[in-house]
Amino acid sequence: MSNTNRTLLSDPMDDNNPITVQVLGICSALAITVQLKAALVMSISVMAVMAASNVIISMLRDLIPNRIRIIVQLVVVASLVALVDQVLRAYAYDISKELSIFIGLIITNCIVMGRLEAFALGNGVWRSFLDGIGNAVGYGFILILVAFFRELLGSGNLLGYQVIPDFVYEMGYENNGLMLLSPMALITVGIIIWIQRSRNRKLIEN
């Protein structure tokens, strides 16, 4: 694998993270991070949709008239999302109920559309595939990080299993119910951005 292809995969993890740097796909990132399990399923779904849609649009890129490209992209993405939705309903019904409308909202998830516009329309199939995977991993990474802290601090569980031992509770430790409320998702992402930019100072805005 050549160097440029490797940066396609590694860049979205830090320097060009879709959530904290490109500010794409925030909606779902915040709404479904109460539990780690939902965040995992969401990341996998987004990865499947992004990789497939990037490949399809990249293959069609010379055929799509410029004026109607948004509608073509939306139709491709919407069909892929409908597919993912049906698979989830068949094999993971509980999770799909829990994610409710947010699976459908992958269609308008700006990461998918943003990468199609910015990358897949101008690059080859293999590079677009790598870009899709890379960005989906970068997105999933933040999603899982936020969900990890929210579930751990908010309910003392991880993936539904209790991880904080009972004697800690007996010593007077309490779960922080605040972490389960929606505003804490915003604040957690804010703090992640803060930490990332203190480490990586070239990302600081003026």
Binding site: C27, L30, I71, A78, A82, D85, G190, W194
Partner: protein
């Protein structure tokens, strides 16, 4: 009548699109740098939501739901085209946005100048598709109800974006730690505002 008023208040404050469900966050963060653009985008969202939610309601009710096609003939009564709803909704939204853009351009150049650049963005705003998807799981009884839902959710979105734009204009003058500047502080302010909006949650109307 009182039900409609309740739905109106509830969709604006208690189930605010931004603060309760985080819908339309991307354009919310990207376009809230000045009050002027945020007002323009906010009105465009109200406009499109008020049109697309009732339209998608009709499509859902008479084409997609289980048994919705029974008006065509008894043979079709068993069909359930639910799985097509994503594609249908997004197609309706994308084409309505295009149509609205053309109509506004033709009949009201002044309004077009104000809303024009925002309209194409709106097709991919989560709040619009989210409005239709929520409409689908809320089982509204009629077209008026869904129109009120669309309209009031749009107002809630407008309120949220104008409020954050006002704060962001002021915060430019304060001394924020460098790594937190811009995006970071906006997230945190937005979180604090969401706490504020949570105080409406207990209200039973």
């Amino acid at each position: 009548m009182i039900d409609y008023a309740n739905l109106f208040i509830k969709s604006i404050f208690i189930e605010n699109m931004i603060f309760a469900y985080f819908l339309g966050m991307c354009s919310y963060l990207a376009m809230s740098k000045t009050i002027k653009t945020s007002v323009g985008l906010g009105f465009a969202v109200i406009f499109v939501l008020t049109i697309t939610v009732p339209l998608n309601f009709l499509i859902d009710k008479y084409l997609l739901q289980a048994g919705a096609l029974s008006w065509v003939g008894p043979k079709y009564a068993e069909l359930n085209l639910d799985f097509l709803s994503f594609i249908m909704f997004i197609a309706v939204i994308a084409s309505m946005v295009q149509l609205v853009e053309m109509i506004v351009e033709k009949f009201s150049p002044a309004l077009y100048a104000a809303l024009g650049i925002f309209l194409p963005l709106i097709a991919v705003n989560c709040a619009i598709l989210g409005g239709s998807l929520f409409m689908q799981i809320k089982y509204f009884s009629g077209i008026t109800e869904s129109a009120i839902y669309g309209f009031s959710s749009g107002i809630g979105w407008l309120l949220a974006i104008v409020a954050i734009a006002a704060i962001r204009e002021k915060i430019a003058y304060s001394n924020v730690p460098a790594p937190l500047k811009g995006l970071g502080i906006t997230f945190i302010i937005c979180g604090l505002m969401a706490f504020g909006f949570m105080s409406f949650m207990g209200i039973k109307i």
